[in-house]
Symmetry: C2
Subunit: 298 residues, 2 copies
């Protein structure tokens, strides 16, 4: 499985590069290969200043070695040798009406015994637009339903709980799906889990290029740009304070530039910013909540 | 002591507001009083869009209540009632040649028995200028030497270790002094400790307004501004990932807008940014190191 998963992820990265570059029309992913001293490495693919996208990364890595002590105990990975491979994506667009997107799909092995898949896709619109959020969740539901009729509900809730900025009491965006430690069990083989993760990974590019094409020409002004920068500030807060992948990377002395590719080119903070009553900004804040049933939103 | 320290800090905030406003010539601190449900409150003083300063805060607080469980054990505060009061400052200037400054002075009591002072001042120039760093450290040394000839060396090292961005392997700026848990001991009474903290607090405004006046008219261009935004990105990384005060605030459900006043109005990230050889930016990176003896730098 190690080899199969690694090959799939390596190839997925290239396919996504291609589709995103086509949809952008200008940006090119710059491939940056790196090695990890303790074992393995990866290829970061970073894009800056495209037509639609301002900054983003579609990264692949496959790393292995001894599990760092701090994680072995705290995160109950246990002692021993690990192998981890996956693709991580964050894309920040220019236009405030094009949402930020994040995907991660990964495979993990401990001592060649405990094996699992994890990952998810979630959407962070600067402006929450219910039809967009609905489309997004319906696409994810379709992907999940092909594999298990309970996946979507479970993994949607998991995303709501995970992508939550506790200190702001708001969700990062409109959520999506999030799942971890999907191992073989009575119902599913590891191969079944792999097929699910393949479906998720393969669905990504079409979902996001839909939003790129749909929203890239919506006119915007200074108010929208200011709001976008503030929302990106929240994105930075989430990633640096809560995101497990980021923390894992920082604590295990990972490749910083690859880990922090998730941060936007520009972000902003203002003291006590309060949106105008009945504005699109206020609407957005009121919809950065858990437990909104976006897939059947009316 | 509780009352004395609280009165001193409350008054210090107002004095600093006045001196910074005078030096800025345009900005006014907007006082925002807040209450804490579990006990106490504070007055945030936030400034935006001045002549010299873009964004900053000079905050006072005095809070009390039961020590939150997570901190009682992890940070060895122990169980019981706490009382904490202090002034916290971060100032972000417009001009990249004016440094960012941070000060915190605080008094802490557990169960009206264990009592201590803590705090420090540190400087984060976007461009390291040795004469400025030297002036800064000499001022701090003077303040320390009035109280104890070992303070400066001790507290300068403490600042080097504390204001270190581990994942970047660089210091946040040129350091300064940092100290904590200064309680009464064989050599000093709590009153002695208080007098030291008063000296630190009272020294702040003159030190910083010196840099405001000295550097506010240095001409700068796009390259300098770009670099400033990247350095501010590092400031954000330090504060959200490592800063103990920020973590304490986020974990104890503190007043978010007051805690995160330390973040700049605008910050930026670029993938793998590398300064030009022999540039001012490269010089800066090479001097964001621990253990530089700035006070006697030649």
């Amino acid at each position: 499985m190690k080899q199969q998963a690694t090959d799939f992820f390596r190839n997925l990265q290239k396919e996504i590069w291609q589709k995103i570059e086509n949809a952008d029309g200008k940006a090119t992913f710059i491939a940056d290969e790196w090695q990890r001293e303790e074992g393995g490495g990866g290829v970061s693919g970073v894009l800056q200043n495209g037509n639609v996208l301002e900054k983003g990364g579609v990264n692949f890595s496959a790393v292995w070695g001894k599990m760092p002590q701090v994680l072995a105990s705290r995160d109950s990975f246990g002692d021993g040798d690990f192998y981890a491979t996956g693709v991580s994506i964050v894309l920040h667009p220019h236009n405030p009406f094009v949402p930020i997107i994040h995907m991660n799909v990964r495979y993990f092995e401990m001592n060649e015994q405990k094996c699992w898949f994890g990952g998810g896709i979630d959407l962070t619109p600067h402006y929450v637009v219910p039809t967009d959020a609905k489309f997004f969740h319906q696409q994810l539901k379709k992907v999940c339903d092909k594999h298990d009729s309970t996946y979507y509900t479970q993994f949607k809730k998991w995303a709501d709980d995970y992508f939550f900025i506790k200190h702001r009491k708001e969700t990062r965006g409109v959520g999506g799906i999030f799942f971890d430690r999907l191992s073989a069990n009575d119902k599913y083989t590891l191969q079944d889990r792999f097929e699910f993760v393949q479906s998720v990974g393969n669905a990504f590019a079409d979902i996001y290029t839909h939003f790129m094409q749909l929203n890239k020409n919506i006119p915007f002004g200074d108010t929208h740009k200011t709001w976008q920068l503030l929302r990106r500030g929240r994105y930075v807060e989430f990633n640096l304070v809560y995101d497990a992948g980021t923390k894992f990377g920082l604590e295990t002395d990972g490749r910083i530039e690859s880990i922090l590719m998730s941060l936007p080119q520009h972000a902003s903070w203002q003291y006590n910013f309060t949106p105008q009553p009945n504005s699109q900004e206020e609407f957005t804040l009121n919809h950065l909540k858990k437990d909104i049933d976006w897939a059947s939103y009316n």
